[in-house]
């Protein structure tokens, strides 16, 4: 389960960022922000021509001492970042993928909302609850 989930706009400002409340929120902000560099590197590494066939899932962006950061980029260059605890070894690549898929679907729903103004921060309750379902439950 994730400890921090973030959605970042094409222009690299956060649309949504949520972390496990007991942890240091600021740290996650920094971590997610820094991971954008890796995302950009990975995107640019694929190259222009292959951009269409590029897989959305970027895999492990970078491991820190305590956390693993995974990334995913939609075709519209919206980035999803999931930070998971390094100690959580049960988390497999497949599960991360499915988390991203869920996140993407939910994000699409948000975008489909005619009252949502693209570029605004996400305040959807449905999205929120879906994210909390994916988060580590703070006990």
């Amino acid at each position: 389960m994730a400890v921090c989930i973030a959605v970042i706009a094409k222009e690299n400002y956060p649309l949504y960022i949520r972390s496990v409340p007991i942890q240091n929120e600021l740290k996650f902000h920094y971590t997610v922000h820094t991971s954008l560099d890796v995302v950009e590197e990975k995107i640019s590494a694929v190259g222009k021509a292959m951009a269409d066939q590029r897989e959305l899932y970027l895999g492990l962006l970078y491991p820190t001492e305590d956390y693993k950061v995974y990334g995913c980029v939609t075709n519209s260059k919206v980035k999803f970042v999931i930070v998971a605890d390094s100690s959580n070894t049960s988390l497999r690549d497949n599960e991360i993928r499915s988390m991203f898929r869920k996140l993407h679907n939910s994000f699409t729903d948000v975008m489909c909302n005619p009252f949502y103004n693209p570029g605004d921060t996400i305040q959807s309750k449905a999205f929120d609850s879906m994210v909390s379902a994916m988060m580590v439950q703070a006990s």
Partner: protein, 1445 residues
């Protein structure tokens, strides 16, 4: 990246140089001390050799030594820091001093790196540039784009590295910084210099071989001794020196000794001669600092100074890192450091007093001598010595080679492959302890490698290191192996060319070994520094960064900070710059710097990171950085920067929690206070960021705040700040004002007219400078918004303004009203008052206030210890966006907004209006008398008082020409007195008959009676003031009659009082006062009236004019108002042609009484009035009660005329339509006869009679019976058509379908049949009953006269048909009908309004009752040949009774 001044090659070369020790006799030291230097310091600037050296390697090949540097140091026997691998506290302190002393030069050229979307300003100037980082940013960018310098240097890192490398303790596992040679220096002034040389030589030998001293480590047992005879030119005997030198040459050989002559400048020889001071750059910073200390210690500390000098004497020759004297100078230390940094930035060391300048006794010649000496020593002494040793070692090795190889193979055989790891594990545990003896044969190869390395023979060095590495590894001597690995990698790198790829993994292994196995952090760090540099030079930034980050540890914050910073620079220098990683690591570095106490560096790091985070939506991070910057700036005594940084946290719409925000706020206030308390108050107050001011929502109100009610008096509402602005309402007021201004200016609105605006806001027209009157307050309402979740407390608010005198009067200050403390939780307005005392131009600039936070304890009282700061905020209002021309549409430009720039004008009159007994609810049509008081509260007379209203028929001031003295002028005598003027009915008069007929000209009520209706707007009325003016302070009461609106419901009625000053030509031509009332009208009576022709004979009443008027009165009051009953008191008529004649009611109840929902019918006869005057109205009163109301006087007639006007205003559309049609038909040709007919026909049906029903209502109010009076108007226009007092709803018109095609003109209307049937009025005149003896005469003949009267004004042809309608069923019914005798058909022609009598005879056969009304009359207009006759309306049944006798 940190671009270094040196290249990597230079750096490494300079890090490992041949070291030379110095032993100096005391006399020699004295000589050098003259120059404030010891011998090694003296030589230091000249230690780099400018010329190439040559030496032969073991294969007798010539090796070129370029750019060699040697290091000359005094011998220090004190044991140095144990090689524990950790820095001692002293070392740490020194390193940190070095770093903090090296600060980015202010004003240096900045460097911008463009990385993706980011333009990063990673400059030395960033600390400065960060100060106004929104405003200055652009300037910096433009400046940088033009600049050619693209180097970001981190001099503090280089300084650190240099210090760090120099402070490396000599270690046993490597020989690079062991002494190769020793200079023995003796002065020529010595009695026996040779003895001294011997002494020194013995001393050196003792130090090296005694075993007592571990510290100065020596490379080779037989160290090169070089004998230097120092001669002081200023004192010594030169010849003696030369002779001693000759002696020395004999003894030590010409290559082993030297005569150095210095101090050739005499003290007297002008000090003005400028000699370059090379020492300032070469002497390292810490020693420089100690120099500074010496200079700046005040006199009382002389003993301390001596101590320092002593320590300088004994220790200066060692590396300053080992300087462990506890120099404790609290207080002065800071300023000294400050001076030190200052002098550092001015690279040339000139700021120091002349006494301490180095080399004062040296001439340029002496410099050259020193240079020569070093060269001589190196080429003649040192290099050959090294060459010799390399050869020796090489020989040894060659002889040993076979042995070692065989040994190796033997061990291998002995232990076998499988056992090696086991051994290694066992060995690993104590490898760090494994030490070879310095002269151990295993170290020989390493020694040789080091020697080769020192003389730049890297190829040989590499192969030696490589071999050594293998040996050490096999011995599991890990420290030695790591050292060999490190140097192997370095020498491979320095070899250059493509001979050998750089073995990066050697470095990694070395670092790992140093760190993990040997636990030697210092060595690991050194190794990492080299490795990183090498990687960087090979553009492997990612690896370098990883390496640097790996090297950070919890042990040393300073080191970690520096490494992190370098790593950050690596990220940004990658091919795809990783800006965010850069920023993140900068933050980490900043954090470590601050932990290490390097505040300036920390601040710089945060500022650089800020550039990435700024404005990108990462608010949490941004806030954190800003907060840190603020704190650091504050501790660094840069309060302005701190305040700025804190501002950003507070002004952002922060997502922080309330407690966090509260903390930020408190911190901000604290910092702010700290920053600005020190400054004098003459400085302009600084801007405060909180709370936000919504400038455009600022409202400005001119004038006093009004009292709304004062006892019974009710003041005019006017405009107040409490009202919301309503665009529609504003338009209504403006329209009213325009009308009243037009009326006051004889019907023309002057071109300079500009509507008065008392309250300016964002929606009003603010293009003009508003006008304010002197001595009248200006109230400014400022809208605050608190973006935080914690409340803010504002106190001592006042306005800032600027005043320019325009007119000339004695200067007087302006009063500023100050508001009370305001606590703002979310949004709040504050009102501030300004009282101008003289005329001129005022500009309101902003406001000043104290800002404080509420104490966290939660009590609302503002206690003194909660910090409050004083600051200002400007009010800048942007006008509306311009959107007129094309340029304005394509660009964004805003118009001016002059809300806050009022012009103060000379005094103007000021009117206050009060209403007395003004009702809030009225019955429809109710007449009520109220009083209005006009009061001039200014010091200037007032005149030209007028009023305009949206409902002019609602009120009247009475007619001045008919001003009745009867009406009581004071409201006190009002009690139970009718609003009407009444007369008691003469006792004899029968109720219901006309008692009075008055002729009144409309002009009386038109012009005099309260209105200039003719001139301008219909809604403007002049107010009859006594003399037309109100003197200052005067007040007048005037009666005011009100009439309830005809429509029920709530009516909003606007009054606009207009007045002028007595003096014309001022800036303000007039002033206005607004008043709005709401009247709730409830239903009273509904009056419907119809008129029809009376069939009575015209002879009876005058000539041809008789009409019946039926008035239906219904009480439609719903009893809520407590109305018990209505009495119809009087019915009056008003018309130009008609008048009511008498009531023909079966009037049993003389007072017509109507209770709830009751309906009454009144019937009147009206006659044509006899008056010839067409312009005058005839008022006829028919009193039904016991008193007559004179309807032709003030309230009644006024409202009648007002109603006429208002109803006229309802009609213009129809009038225009008919006119248009008229002209069209005329244009059509001469055959426009139809139009005439219509006119004629209509005319004949027209009545123009207005019925006024005056009623009284008995209302129970608070158990008291109150009589209300009222009047209702019905306008009768057409005979037979019902008219109603209530205006017909206009819904039908409002709901007209939209038509996009022009409507076809309606076909020429012919007069309708109905209309035509009214052309002729018939009347039968006969005896009502007739007795006839049918016995005697069977036929009874009765003469009947048929009167035909032409109602129209045209000639009419009439046909009278007397035949009974056979088809008519009723004729069959009538038993025994009668017959008309004589002609059955008459053709007649009637002239206009002619009355013709036609004698007829009727014959009856039986007695009975007969209807004589059978004659049918057809009529047509005489000149309309084409038309057929129309049957005229039959008269009512005319019954005749024939009696038989």
């Amino acid at each position: 990246m940190a671009q270094c001044v040196q290249s990597v090659q230079e750096l490494i070369q300079d890090s490992f140089v041949p070291k030379v020790a110095v032993l100096c006799s005391e006399d020699a030291q004295k000589i050098t001390r003259k120059n404030n230097l010891n011998f090694s310091e003296l030589l230091r600037p000249f230690c780099r050799l400018t010329s190439e050296g040559h030496m032969r390697d073991s294969n007798n090949q010539v090796q070129v030594v370029k750019n060699l540097r040697i290091s000359v140091n005094n011998v220090v026997t004190r044991p140095s820091v144990p090689t524990s691998g950790v820095h001692s506290p002293a070392q740490r302190r020194l390193l940190s001093e070095v770093v903090s002393a090296s600060q980015p030069a202010e004003g240096g050229v900045a460097n911008v790196i463009t990385a993706g979307d980011y333009d990063l300003n990673i400059s030395d100037r960033s600390v400065k540039a960060s100060v106004p980082w929104y405003s200055d940013w652009r300037d910096t960018l433009t400046e940088l784009s033009t600049s050619k310098h693209y180097t970001a240097t981190t001099p503090w890192f280089e300084a650190y590295r240099e210090s760090f490398l120099q402070s490396m303790p000599a270690s046993d596992h490597e020989f690079l910084n062991h002494y190769l040679a020793c200079l023995l220096v003796v002065s020529s002034s010595e009695a026996v210099p040779v003895e001294q040389f011997l002494k020194l030589s013995q001393e050196q030998h003792m130090i090296q071989h005694n075993g007592e001293y571990t510290n100065p480590k020596w490379f080779i047992p037989n160290t090169l001794k070089y004998y230097v005879l120092l001669h002081d030119m200023s004192q010594g005997d030169e010849q003696r020196a030369d002779s001693v030198y000759e002696d020395m040459k004999q003894r030590y050989g010409s290559q082993g000794c030297y005569l150095l002559k210095i101090n050739s400048r005499t003290a007297a020889a002008g000090t003005d001669e400028q000699i370059p001071d090379p020492w300032s750059q070469y002497l390292n910073k810490s020693s420089l600092q100690s120099q500074v200390r010496r200079d700046f210690v005040p006199l009382p500390h002389t003993n301390l100074l001596q101590i320092l000098q002593v320590s300088g004497l004994s220790l200066d020759n060692t590396h300053p890192l080992q300087l462990e004297t506890a120099i404790d100078m609290p207080g002065s230390l800071d300023c000294l450091r400050a001076v030190a940094t200052e002098t550092k930035t001015t690279t040339v060391y000139t700021g120091v007093a002349a006494g301490t300048s180095h080399g004062a006794c040296l001439t340029l010649n002496d410099h050259n001598r020193l240079r020569l000496f070093i060269q001589e020593f190196t080429f003649r002494g040192l290099l050959p010595h090294i060459e010799k040793n390399i050869r020796q070692l090489n020989d040894q090795l060659v002889s040993r080679k076979g042995l070692s190889r065989s040994l190796f193979s033997v061990t291998k055989k002995l232990f076998g492959g499988g056992k090696v790891p086991e051994k290694s594990i066992a060995e690993l545990k104590n490898t760090s302890g494994l030490l070879y003896h310095p002269e151990a044969p295993e170290l020989q190869i390493r020694k040789m490698a080091d020697l080769c390395f020192l003389v730049q023979h890297y190829e040989l060095a590499y192969s030696c290191y490589h071999t050594a590495k293998k040996d050490f590894l096999s011995d599991q001597a890990m420290l030695y192996a790591a050292g060999a690995l490190e140097m192997a990698a370095v020498s491979a790198f320095l070899q250059g060319g493509a001979q050998r790829p750089y073995p990066a993994h050697y470095m990694d292994t070395a670092i790992q070994t140093y760190r993990d196995v040997c636990k030697n952090k210092v060595l690991a760090e050194r190794c990492a520094l080299f490795s990183a540099e090498v990687l960087k030079s090979q553009a492997k930034y990612s690896d370098a960064a990883t390496l640097l980050i790996k090297m950070t540890s919890e042990d040393s914050d300073l080191c970690s900070a520096l490494l992190l910073e370098q790593a950050a620079h690596c990220f940004i220098n990658m091919r795809n710059p990783m800006v965010r990683k850069f920023a993140f690591h900068m933050i980490l570095a900043g954090h470590r710097f601050s932990k290490a106490g390097q505040k300036r560096h920390a601040l710089r790091c945060y500022c650089q990171a800020m550039q990435v985070y700024k404005g990108k939506g990462w608010s949490l991070a941004e806030d954190h950085i800003n907060f840190t910057i603020g704190r650091q700036s504050f501790t660094l005594r840069q309060p302005e920067n701190a305040v700025l940084a804190f501002r950003h946290i507070l002004t952002n719409d922060s997502q922080q929690t309330a407690t966090q925000q509260g903390a930020f706020l408190r911190e901000y206030l604290y910092v702010y206070r700290g920053a600005f308390l020190r400054e004098s108050h003459t400085v302009a107050l600084p801007q405060l960021p909180l709370p936000c001011i919504n400038s455009s929502a600022t409202r400005v109100y001119f004038g006093h705040e009004r009292r709304l009610a004062e006892g019974e008096k009710q003041a005019a509402t006017h405009v107040s700040l409490d009202q919301e602005f309503d665009q529609d309402l504003a338009a209504v007021w403006q329209d009213l004002e325009e009308q009243v201004v037009a009326a006051a200016n004889r019907g023309v609105v002057p071109s300079t007219f500009y509507p008065t605006q008392c309250c300016l806001n964002s929606q009003t027209d603010n293009l003009h400078f508003p006008l304010a009157v002197v001595e009248e307050p200006i109230i400014v309402e400022v809208a605050f918004r608190n973006p935080l979740k914690v409340p803010l407390v504002l106190s001592d608010l006042s306005l800032l303004w600027k005043f320019t005198l325009k007119d000339f009067s004695r200067p007087q200050p302006q009063d500023v009203m100050v508001g009370d403390a305001v606590t703002i939780t979310n949004e709040k307005e504050a009102r501030l008052k300004l009282l101008p005392r003289q005329t001129g131009q005022l500009t309101i600039l902003g406001l000043v206030y104290n800002l404080a936070s509420t104490p966290s304890t939660g009590d609302s009282t503002i206690n003194s210890n909660s910090p409050s700061v004083r600051g200002r905020q400007d009010l800048e209002i942007q006008g509306p966006r311009l959107n007129q021309t094309k340029e304005e549409k394509t660009s964004v430009s805003h118009g001016p907004d002059r809300r806050l720039d009022p012009t103060i004008t000379p005094p103007m009159p000021l009117l206050e209006v009060f209403f007395l007994q003004f009702p809030t609810a009225l019955l429809c049509g109710e007449i009520r008398k109220a009083y209005v008081e006009f009061c001039n509260v200014s010091h200037v007379p007032l005149c030209g008082l007028r009023v305009a209203s949206t409902h002019p028929d609602f009120f009247t001031f009475g007619s001045s020409s008919l001003a009745t003295p009867l009406t009581p002028l004071s409201p006190t005598s009002f009690e139970n007195c009718s609003a009407y003027k009444t007369l008691a009915t003469p006792p004899g008069a029968t109720p219901g008959s006309v008692t009075a007929v008055t002729l009144v000209s409309a002009a009386d009520f038109g012009s005099g009676g309260g209105g200039v209706f003719g001139t301008g707007g219909k809604r403007v009325a002049e107010i009859p003031l006594g003399e037309g003016t109100l003197t200052p302070g005067e007040s007048t009461q005037l009666p005011l009659w009100l009439r309830g609106p005809d429509q029920e419901g709530v009516h909003e009625i606007n009054f606009l009082f207009y007045y002028e000053g007595a003096e014309k030509g001022g800036k303000i031509s007039h002033r206005v006062l607004r008043h709005t009332v709401f009247i709730c009208a409830s239903r009273s009576l509904s009056v419907r009236a119809t008129a029809c022709r009376s069939n009575t004979l015209p002879e009876e009443e005058g000539r041809n004019g008789s009409m019946l008027v039926f008035v239906d009165v219904e009480n439609i009051n719903t009893s809520e108002a407590g109305v018990r009953e209505f009495h119809i008191a009087q019915v009056s008529s008003s018309s130009k042609q008609w008048r009511l004649h008498k009531c023909i009611n079966p009037a049993e109840n003389k007072d017509c009484k109507l209770t709830t929902r009751e309906r009454g019918k009144l019937c009147f006869r009206a006659t044509r009035s006899t008056s010839k005057s067409l312009e005058k109205y005839t008022f006829a009163d028919l009193s039904l009660g016991n008193e007559q109301i004179i309807s032709s006087t003030t309230p009644c007639a006024d409202f009648f005329f007002r109603r006429c006007q208002s109803s006229e205003s309802w009609r213009p559309l129809i009038a225009v339509e008919t006119q248009g049609r008229h002209s069209r038909s005329q244009g059509a040709g001469p055959g426009g006869g139809a139009e005439d007919i219509t006119g004629v026909v209509r005319k004949c049906n027209e009545v123009d009679l207005d019925i006024i029903v005056l009623w009284k209502a008995f209302v129970v109010e608070d158990n008291k019976q109150v009589i209300l009076e009222g009047q209702l108007h019905v306008a009768l226009q057409t005979i037979g058509k019902e008219a109603c007092s209530l205006r017909q709803k206009e819904e039908a018109q409002e709901m007209v379908l939209l038509k996009f095609k022009p409507e076809l003109p309606p076909p020429m209307t012919r007069p309708s049949m109905e209309q035509l049937s009214h052309l002729i009025k018939t009347n039968l005149h006969y005896p009502e009953s007739y007795s006839h003896s049918f016995v005697q005469k069977s036929l009874c003949m009765i003469p009947v006269i048929l009167t035909l009267s032409n109602c129209s004004l045209a000639q009419v042809d009439a046909i009278i048909d007397l035949r009974h309608k056979t088809t008519s069923p009723e004729s069959l019914e009538v038993h025994g009908s009668f017959t008309w005798l004589g002609k059955t058909q008459y053709k007649l022609q009637l002239r206009a309004q002619e009355v013709m009598r036609l004698p007829l005879r009727a014959g009856f056969l039986h007695a009975g009752v007969y209807n004589l009304g059978t004659p049918r009359v057809f009529a047509k207009l005489a000149d309309q040949g084409a038309m057929c006759e129309t049957s005229q309306q039959t008269a009512t049944p005319a019954l005749i009774i024939i009696n038989s006798t």
